[in-house]
Symmetry: C2
């Protein structure tokens, strides 16, 4: 009986652990823990999760307009008439969209790039959801494009590229403010944030 890192008596359990271990944030050890938890609570946790996964796999798709994930296409946000049609917020990932929605930070519509330009990872503009952004920005209603890519090197490179691409669309291009995060203590912040916060200081 040759035993690999996941090898146990039951092949079904092995397969489950191997699949769980591939999820982000889980490794072999935590996958085993999750698998045991699932098996020991078969009716209350395991079967509902299996059903939820199958249902979501069936129902959920990508919005052809903005790249959001939803059961409808166009997605609920794109279809909502109460959303301000004048501004589009460009984010890297659906997770960023969710974060802004949780914060109720924005009442316009979104555009999800699906990643960032990265020379290291070989991500080129063709790999991202950029070509569909240009005609959206050129629509009559749209007056502002907010570039909400992450404040990382790749995020900023992507924002810079988008700024160039969006020139001539006749829209205002903005980006999120930089500074001390709410609740942040100066002593714990990095030099880059402190320098930016100083340079962008405002009158009170």
């Amino acid at each position: 009986m040759a035993k690999g890192p996941f090898s146990l008596a039951a092949a079904d359990v092995e397969r489950l652990i191997r699949l769980l271990a591939k999820l982000p944030g889980l490794g072999p050890r935590s996958a085993r823990r999750v698998a045991l938890h699932l098996i020991q609570q078969k009716e209350t946790v395991m079967r509902p999760l299996a059903e939820a996964l199958a249902d979501a796999a069936e129902a959920v798709g990508v919005c052809s307009r903005c790249g959001n994930i939803d059961t409808a296409d166009p997605c609920e946000i794109c279809a909502d008439p109460r959303r301000d049609p004048a501004s589009i917020c460009v984010v890297e990932q659906v997770g960023d969209l969710w974060a802004l929605e949780r914060a109720s930070a924005f009442r316009g519509r979104y555009h999800v790039l699906g990643g960032v330009l990265s020379a290291l990872d070989g991500v080129t503009p063709e790999d991202l959801n950029i070509e569909t952004l240009i005609p959206r920005a050129a629509e009559a209603d749209v007056t502002e494009i907010i570039l909400a890519t992450n404040a990382t090197v790749d995020g900023q490179t992507t924002a810079h590229y988008l700024t160039e691409r969006l020139e001539g669309c006749g829209v205002t291009i903005t980006r999120l403010a930089r500074g001390v995060p709410v609740g942040g203590e100066l002593d714990y912040l990095d030099d880059g944030t402190l320098i930016t916060a100083f340079a962008s200081r405002k009158g009170v």
Copy 2:
């Protein structure tokens, strides 16, 4: 649109995140990350996981003899004739059994208690898989019971209780050695381990 901590546009995604967030080691944030990962890799990750969960929920059960988890009852270990019938290793959880199996530390059979005695959590002997251990220990083949409960207060209380219960079964009762773990540096070990390692020192 009232938004809770998991609330997103699609109810199917919400339900998936809520279930994932209940798994050990996952919280709302990591559950969202896992859900996005699953949705974005629907065919390669999400559907296989849904199937693996449904299959395992169908096939896997608890061994009526030792408490191990397997698709067969008695489990593969209990049924394996190459396993030494003379010794039974008592562990708290199936995860402990897996750890000993991975290490190939033991070639006998197991008995899984399904927990430890705990006054704080209100776990009594009736809640554990103890009543089935006594007749197993009294079987003619069995000569040694190894108490491999954790080296915690509750684990030791349980081991002590089992020692009393097993008196009169005519078996040798042993427990795992205590000392400096392999690869351990003295500087980083707790006082309890150091004191035990000193008290249990051996001639070279």
